[in-house]
């Protein structure tokens, strides 16, 4: 068995795209963990969406055997984490399983918002930090300037800074040595009562919940009866092991180690990230500290396209929350869409990822309603309520005061895009703008914006205005008084509740018009004329029509190939099934989110 002094648990943290997953690849290869045949770039990004988008979404642990220059054998638990701000909850949970972290900084980009944010997270967990300047192979790399940023701005010590190119492998072996020599080994007593922290979980239809945990005290093996401290549920352990490229069973997990536990857990709600596992026979005295609750900022309702799929959606969401502890949900219903769930997300990317994972991993076809932020509403009688769903927006006559969340947006860009970005922020009700030059020609622009104004296409618009050179980050600021109205959409005279949105009064008419135009593009022509209207209270503020479809092509059936002809029609019919019928009108899935996109989007 490996001794504690020969174990190192560490995360790789950084701003998005600074090269964490690529460095993980190199470390995995150096430790001889994969054959060339098995290898592919960003090996740990194994979800389909991660590979498509080229970003990490889930933290991923891998246990590497390392033979160090001191002649000793080490067990390294490496956690690759996501860099995008929407997934910082993944980072904070991963850090709870570690004693140290590699803080990557891109040698050309330098320190950015999430470099700082993740550094603070690591410091909260009392981790030792090794700064690593990555991408030194880039022509624009300026390792000396970046090293100065690391010491001066981040206050980290110069002596431990590593410089590498994760791409070429240059300097990577020195990093492994630094991990062994500089990061502390875990503490803990294998003979004490078991206390292990659940930091992640995943549902497997054959084996039940697979728990990712860090053992802090004691040991656990197959045959033990474990106890979850939060709900007193008990299970018999079937298997424990390490995360290699695949799960690898081990005789036991002992203090200091990171691994998985399988215990035939079929009741999904029993497992909660942050809970402490102990042994029933010999429980530990106190639970481990656990995690702070994630704070959801964007809300949207999820409905199955086919109302028959409601039960399947309910089961899918529950399973997904095991693997995505930042997602919240509660039952919701809509006249237009039937039963569904109101869900809370950490941001828009998180929302998109949840939608895609539900559709792909659980084979569902879904409709998401217009995302909303959480508003604070004070009623005339003095009661305070929170509203994140337009359906529950109170009668305006009863409202004394509404507050909406503001963010501080930080935008980095080349100076030449300043004008366009400034205009965009003004359009979105931005206030208190300021800017400075961190580097010559490069501008850091900050602005206070209502969160509601950035949750849909702000980032897309920013990207197009800056031709892809703009980067955007935000932090929550506070709640401020606002003048909101509820904008309703009527299709052929029927109000479609799932298309309602809360908007600032000043922009309501323009929003209404934009929503009508978008719907006109999204809803296919049908055999009758369709009127689309936007209304506030009872009055129509915008309208447009979709003219009736006058003609379509009917394939000829040549030489009796009737099957082919029938299949064409069946395809058309299947397409109709993916639409939601409201009144007589068939509305495609995509229309429900499209209403929020502006006309330029």
């Amino acid at each position: 068995m490996v001794q504690l002094k020969n174990i190192r648990n560490f995360s790789i943290i950084a701003h998005i795209d600074h090269g964490k997953s690529t460095l993980a690849d190199r470390l995995i290869q150096l430790c001889g963990m994969v054959t060339d045949r098995e290898f592919q770039d960003q090996l740990l990004d194994n979800m389909e969406i991660e590979r498509e988008r080229g970003i990490t979404i889930k933290s991923q642990t891998i246990c590497l055997p390392y033979h160090a220059k001191d002649g000793q054998h080490y067990l390294l638990n490496l956690v690759d984490t996501p860099g995008h701000v929407d997934f910082s909850y993944e980072v904070s949970r991963a850090l709870a399983s570690c004693e140290g972290a590699l803080l990557l900084v891109d040698a050309a980009q330098g320190v950015e918002a999430q470099t700082l944010a993740n550094l603070y997270l690591a410091m909260e967990h009392d981790l030792e930090i090794i700064p690593v300047i990555n991408k030194i192979d880039l022509p624009a790399a300026d390792p000396e300037a970046i090293a100065a940023q690391i010491t001066d701005d981040l206050g980290l010590e110069a002596e431990h800074i590593q410089k590498c190119s994760a791409k070429t492998g240059l300097g990577v072996d020195a990093i492994l040595e630094a991990v062994v020599n500089y990061l502390p080994p875990p503490k803990g007593d294998p003979e004490a009562p078991l206390s292990a922290l659940i930091f992640d979980a995943q549902y497997d239809s054959f084996r039940g919940t697979i728990i990712s945990c860090r053992v802090f005290q004691g040991r656990v093996k197959a045959g033990d009866t474990i106890l979850f401290l939060s709900n007193n549920a008990t299970y018999r352990v079937e298997e424990v092991g390490f995360f290699r490229l695949h799960r690898e069973p081990q005789p036991e997990l002992a203090a200091g180690q990171v691994g998985y536990i399988i215990a035939g857990i079929k009741n999904i709600s029993d497992t909660r990230a942050g809970d402490t596992i102990t042994l029933k026979e010999r429980p530990c005295a106190t639970p481990l500290p656990g995690f702070k609750e994630a704070k959801q900022v964007v809300f949207s309702s999820i409905y199955p396209v086919s109302t028959d799929d409601y039960e399947a959606l309910a089961a899918a969401i529950e399973k997904l929350t095991l693997n995505d502890a930042a997602l919240t949900f509660q039952k919701d219903s809509s006249t237009a869409l039937g039963f569904g769930f109101r869900c809370g997300f950490l941001g828009l990317l998180h929302l998109e990822v949840v939608q895609e994972r539900l559709e792909r991993e659980f084979d569902l076809s879904l409709i998401l309603t217009v995302p909303s932020v959480n508003y604070h509403v004070t009623l005339n009688d003095g009661t305070n309520i929170e509203v994140d769903n337009p359906a529950y927006f109170p009668d305006p006559a009863r409202i004394a005061r509404i507050e909406e969340p503001f963010i501080k947006a930080t935008i980095h860009m080349p100076e030449r895009y300043m004008g366009g970005v400034m205009t965009l922020c003004m359009e979105r009700r931005g206030v208190n703008t300021s800017y400075h030059y961190p580097l010559p020609g490069r501008l850091e622009f900050t602005c206070e914006l209502p969160l509601a104004e950035v949750i849909y296409d702000f980032y897309d618009r920013l990207k197009s205005i800056t031709q892809g050179y703009g980067s955007f980050d935000y932090e929550m600021l506070d709640y401020r008084e606002s003048d909101l109205v509820k904008l309703d959409i009527l299709v052929n005279g029927d109000k479609v509740d799932a298309l309602s949105q809360l908007v600032h009064r000043s922009g309501a008419r323009a929003r209404g018009l934009a929503a009508c135009e978008r719907l006109k593009e999204e809803i296919p022509r049908q055999m009758f004329k369709i009127a689309i209207q936007a209304a506030i209270g009872g009055s129509i503020v915008a309208r447009t029509n979709i003219s009736a479809l006058r003609k379509d092509v009917l394939a000829k059936c040549y030489g009796g190939d009737i099957s082919r002809k029938r299949k064409l029609l069946e395809k058309q019919k299947a397409g109709k099934k993916r639409m939601k019928t409201v009144g007589n009108v068939e509305i495609p899935q995509s229309a429900f989110l499209a209403v929020l996109k502006s006309e330029q989007g």
């Binding site: 055999m527 009758f528 009917l554 000829k556 009796g560 029938r566």
Partner: protein, 393 residues
């Protein structure tokens, strides 16, 4: 693949006499919009292909299923059947007429393309028993013909029609297409007027379909070609119908017009979802509900037939309900619609009973007309038939 021998098939009740189809998958060149099974072959098409068709014919003709039936129609389609020499084609036709039992007044059609026919060749076909000729004119405008990559000209089309009449064909069909790139209503009117001047007994007027994977599809996607929009298409369809009705042609199927009594019996059998035997590459047979499709590659087809193996690559035998639905969607292409008594006799089902509210809704919306005897598409539904049929498929 292994399929049940035709003999093992139980006949469907109420089924009419079958048709016989032969597919000739060769053309002079490939048109830009074409998604049919057809391969360009110049200077001459392979002679052994016809031999393979004849060989398959003799195998099928010996089956009990065929032996028990008289065929009402023979249709040689393509591709371009007339790419073969008159004697070659006439030989195949004689052979088929000898091997299969036909009703006394059987309809025997050959498809022809303008620049592959002479009066002599057509006379040879006529002499072999062919009594209906279908000419692929598509348009009488050289500009539009070249826009879709047809290899013939207006002059060649005119000559072909004259040759057909001179060779003694009294039942003539002209194929036309509308919705061509750059085509205007005036263009269509002109083509129709020229066509009607020849007094053909039958006219097929198809709309151009952009089939994925064709050169036309690429051109449209890249914006190098623009097609008339659907409002223009609707306009063309209704004006064409008016013009043809005025000239004495009755629209009896969405894309087919005929002088009374001159409807194409071979195609009517498809629209009634009847039985037929298909010979040749990519041909489809439908034997009392069992559908078989042959391999598309003519060389492979000839090989398989040569070895005495069945040339099929797909087989499908639909259940009663699926066959009922299919019969409904095929039948609704006909303006007279589907006969409720016939559906009841063949499947024991009625549209109202089977489709319930789906049919009621279409009736309410004025798209379907349902009375005691039949169900058909309304005038208003014809241009958007695809949408309506998709609800019933």
């Amino acid at each position: 693949m292994s399929v049940p021998p035709p003999d093992a098939i139980t006949p469907e009740s109420g089924e009419g006499p079958p048709g016989l189809y032969v597919h000739i998958p060769f053309c002079r060149s490939k048109c830009g919009y074409c998604a049919f099974t057809s391969y360009p072959c110049l200077p001459a098409p392979p002679a052994d292909y016809l031999a393979a068709c004849a060989q398959e014919a003799s195998r099928i003709a010996a089956s009990d299923w065929v032996q028990a039936r008289q065929f009402a129609t023979l249709f040689i389609g393509g591709g371009t059947p007339t790419i073969y020499a008159g004697e070659q084609l006439a030989g195949l036709i004689r052979e088929l007429l000898a091997r299969f039992a036909f009703v006394p007044d059987a309809e025997i059609t050959v498809e022809a393309n303008p620049n592959t026919v002479t009066r002599e060749k057509l006379a040879q076909l006529r002499a072999a028993g062919v009594n209906r000729l279908s000419v692929g004119v598509q348009s009488f405008s050289d500009r539009l013909l070249s826009a879709i990559g047809r290899s013939h000209t207006q002059a060649e089309a005119l000559a072909a029609i004259q040759a057909a009449r001179a060779a003694g064909f009294e039942n003539l069909n002209l194929d036309l297409i509308y919705g061509l790139p750059g085509q205007t209503l005036a263009d269509l009117r002109e083509s129709l007027t020229i066509a009607v001047d020849f007094s053909p007994e039958h006219l097929a007027l198809y709309e151009l379909m952009v089939e994925p994977g064709t050169p036309l599809a690429r051109e449209v996607e890249e914006g190098r070609v623009t097609l008339p929009d659907d409002d223009a298409m609707a306009e063309m369809e209704s004006k064409a119908q008016e013009l043809l009705a005025g000239a004495g042609y009755q629209r009896y199927e969405i894309a087919n017009f005929a002088r009374p009594g001159c409807e194409c019996r071979h195609n009517l059998n498809y629209w009634h979802n009847g039985s037929y035997v298909g010979l040749g590459a990519a041909a489809v047979s439908c034997l009392s509900g069992l559908r078989l499709k042959s391999v598309a590659d003519p060389t492979r087809y000839a090989e398989l037939v040569g070895k005495g193996e069945p040339p099929y690559v797909e087989a499908e035998s639909l259940g009663l309900h699926a066959r009922f639905r299919e019969t409904v969607i095929m039948g609704l292409r006909l303006l007279e619609g589907v006969s409720l008594a016939e559906l009841e006799a063949r499947f024991g089902l009625t549209p109202r009973g089977y489709y319930g509210t789906t049919v009621e809704r279409l009736v309410e919306r004025g798209l379907l007309i349902l009375n005691d005897d039949s169900m058909r598409l309304s005038e208003q539904a014809l241009p958007v038939a695809h949408q309506v049929l998709a609800e019933l498929v």
